[in-house]
């Protein structure tokens, strides 16, 4: 058994809320199996230079990513799929149909996302199947018409079918009231499929009662209020429970 996880988190999601903007802090992960390099989701446009920088630090050429899986086409997931010139963009056929004609009342899907995606090499998919050795596409509709996840061993990259660990803890969809009843079923399905969930807007966690986070998380926000003065910085950190044996 390979003890090194094939999943590398490029961006941890966070279930942050703000009063005057949508944080959209979503999960972006890299899956390396056999000779394949797969990106799961691409984040909001606001990730773009940071995503490029993080790939560079990992010595991953964007041209070497052969597959991009889009869990769904909301603004905070699909805005950077064009960065990977050699990638096939995997998207559920129902999601693509929706992207081409999003409901004008959908507050999360820009009307142009279908046109933007059509410049790329798309692979519309349906059903559940192995897309690479040990990587299975699973259907998790409800949050959006064609939401999908990727099951990698005992870990599930769930997209927003599981937005955050709080949804796993309560069994209730916390963030939005979905119009689609299948969202609740997809949450249950996701939790039954895997031991570890990489949610759409939270840190990865072990499924359990209660769910437990795998790792620490910190975010920094820098701003200024006085143009002649120094920057101010907020640091938000949340630490996972660790074995004391592993403490320094």
């Amino acid at each position: 058994m390979n003890l090194i996880s094939p999943i590398t988190l490029l961006f941890s999601g966070l279930p942050a809320r703000a009063d005057k903007f949508l944080p959209g802090i979503s999960t972006v992960a890299l899956i390396k199996v056999a000779d394949r390099t797969i990106l799961f989701d691409t984040g909001p446009y606001a990730y773009r230079p940071i995503l490029q920088g993080r790939l560079k630090r990992l010595a991953i050429d964007p041209g070497s990513i052969d597959t991009v899986i889009l869990s769904h086409v909301h603004w905070d997931m699909a805005a950077n799929a064009d960065l990977f010139p050699n990638a096939e963009i995997v998207i559920h056929e129902k999601e693509l149909a929706y992207a081409e004609a999003p409901d004008c009342h959908d507050a999360h899907t820009p009307a142009y996302v279908g046109r933007a995606l059509h410049r790329l090499r798309l692979r519309p998919v349906t059903g559940e199947f192995e897309i690479a050795p040990g990587v299975r596409i699973v259907e998790l509709p409800g949050h959006s018409p064609g939401s999908i996840g990727a099951l990698v061993g005992n870990a599930l990259l769930s997209g927003d079918a599981v937005a955050c660990a709080a949804e796993a803890a309560s069994g209730e969809l916390r963030h939005e009231t979905p119009k689609d009843e299948r969202a609740r079923q997809s949450l249950s399905k996701a939790l039954s499929l895997a031991d570890i969930i990489y949610p759409g807007h939270d840190r990865p966690f072990h499924v359990g009662t209660p769910p437990t986070y795998l790792d620490d998380y910190t975010i920094k926000i820098r701003f200024f209020t006085d143009p002649s003065g120094p920057d101010e910085e907020l640091q938000i950190a949340s630490l996972a429970a660790k074995s004391f044996a592993s403490w320094p």
Binding site: F11, L14, P15, A16, R17, A18, D19, K20, F21, L22, P23, G24, I25, G43, P44, Y45, A46, Y47, R48, P49, I50, Q52, W75, D76, A79, D82, A107, P110, A111, Y112, R115, A116, H118, R119, C164, A165, A166, A168, A169, F205, P210, P211, I219, K220, I221, R222, F223, F224, T225, P227, S228, E232, L234, I236, S238
Partner: protein, 251 residues
Amino acid sequence: VKLDLLIPGLPAKSDHFLFGICSLLLLRVAGRNILFDTGPFRVRPQLIGALKIRGLAPADIDTVFLTHLHWDHVENLDLFAHAEIITPRSEFEYAAAPRPTDWGTPPYVREILRDMRVELLPDEEIELFPGVKTLLLPGHSVGLQGLLVETGDERAVLASDALWSARDAVRGVPDVAFFDPAKAQASLDHALAAGSVFYPGHDRPFRLHNGAVKYLEQYRYRLHFPFQPNGQEFETGIATERAANSAASPT
């Protein structure tokens, strides 16, 4: 010309994401409702809300002035599909094939603009509407244009990212000279000499009194970071009232 600030720009950055919250304004002139820039997607609900409290729906915006075609200025264009879009010709043409290192301009921005009524601005300063002149401010992007607006007794400089924040005015140097630093310096000088009240791209409007910045607006953002699955969370804020900046405290 009636000038109305819908959303002030925010000079903030994170190690995890770009904020991209730029100044969005409403100009009412010559019977038109003109939106100045459209902002990043993340302020979409606030933009719709800011219009609503003024008795306007997105359909009531008949003209959108796009200073340049960076992501954080164009992501809400699809709300205004019926409007006339006014943007610099040089920006529009460049956006057909942005240079590979330019991560600011979405390679698909022309798809966003497809089928829209686009009016292209020439590479010279013109009177667009009575009391509204264009300002050529390239450098931050290939062909950024701002507006000089006569508001009665004052001239307002809507500089967009040629004047990224008030810090550019304090230092006399453009902070985010993204495309062409030499042109960005000339454009900052041009913008600062053009009027007496300034609307930066990513900061609050201000006046200069003997070189000192006097802001005309305040802001206060509240952020909530849940850190446990049981719902425990931190509340923190970004605000110009200093008390609100004090360290995160559990709620």
